[in-house]
Symmetry: C2
Subunit: 222 residues, 2 copies
Amino acid sequence: MVSAEKPAAPVGARRGSPGEGLPPTTLVLPGDEPTAAALIAAAVEVMAVHGYHGTSVRDIAAAAGTSPAVLYHHFTSKHGLLATMLDRGMDVLIAATEEELDLAGEDPADRLRAVVRAHVRVHLESQRESLLGNSELRSLEPGARRLVVAKRDVQQRIFDRVVRDGVRRGVFGAEHPDDAARFVSAACTSTAAWYRPGGRLAPDEIVARYQEIALDTVRYRG
Amino acid sequence: MVSAEKPAAPVGARRGSPGEGLPPTTLVLPGDEPTAAALIAAAVEVMAVHGYHGTSVRDIAAAAGTSPAVLYHHFTSKHGLLATMLDRGMDVLIAATEEELDLAGEDPADRLRAVVRAHVRVHLESQRESLLGNSELRSLEPGARRLVVAKRDVQQRIFDRVVRDGVRRGVFGAEHPDDAARFVSAACTSTAAWYRPGGRLAPDEIVARYQEIALDTVRYRG
DNA sequence: CAGTGCTTTGAACGCTCGTTCAGAGCGGTT
DNA sequence: AACCGCTCTGAACGAGCGTTCAAAGCACTG
């Protein structure tokens, strides 16, 4: 049984290798059993297109190359699978942000560039997972939703802190730091909604432009 | 039969007044029959919470105070009802934006303030309708989706034009006008996701702050 | 006051949904 | 070889889904 909290023990590859041909996803952890991993990858694939309620357990099982009943051996329910995915998605986003912040120095502009880089990169590279996380929070039952919302608030507070810091040091001139922070993070999140691989701009170019624009948004006195 | 294109002939109020107690919605047009209007208002109400696939025809009918079969007298199908709502929602947004632009003068800053005011106001005052429009595009069949996406692109191009104009006149200093425009419009759209009536900021205050921040985002040289 | 046309009703249709479960398959230990 | 524990199979369950339809209700017109 895969949980959002503690990864299960690893198991070697099996027979017909479920989940063959599915694109990899950041929501699978190293310790996941292959079948559970295939179910998660399949769920990302089909739910990102049709949504949670628009996707049946049979759809997920078919995309994973298994039968519907298998899902209930690895997850408590269809809802449990969604909860696991959204919870892990937030973990990925927060971890990426904190990693980038650790690499950045003390300079507020560098720190804002870091959080923007992390946020945009995750939303571009884990596009389907991000779309899912943004649109299916409402499909979680209250308990699970509270958990994920709490993590989303953590992420927002990281943005807030970076902008407030820059303002306090006189490097940013934003009059309403928290609103500017939300302005920026919403714009970064939205990249997942319009980005198409192979489009006008490559991910790194999008990151660079959004870093510039974000600095303008907080009135960086460069 | 209510359509997205041409409003049906008006009809006087009827018996038990379907849709009683439902909050008004911008998606109902003056010419709509009361029962059709009640169904639209009810669909906004319940679909904004549970999504299109998470809402049944019986849910909508119950919220509207009628029976499931009535829906099929006023709309071709559950999908037809959704298509009507999303199409009208885009019309409301575009109309509000063009109205504000007509009131604004030639000054690029005033024009950006105008489109931000319209965009934010609509997303705050028609919050449920906006959330629905943002999250259920994927639930439309290809034909209907193309129509709504085309209108969304019209709205985005209005933003683009305002920012480009300001840059061309040397009033805005944005290096990538289209990206800055998308940055701003995404932030304005996102207000529907976090706004709660009676919260920290009143709608007019949010509008004012977002106008300021948007001008920073495009490097307004005030 | 019979007739017309639109709206509503209530029941029913076939189908798909999420979920369960007894039993089969199988690798690893004793 | 017998056993154990874990994973998977295939069929089935009741419930709810979107949709249809004949019949009833009702505000009009002539």
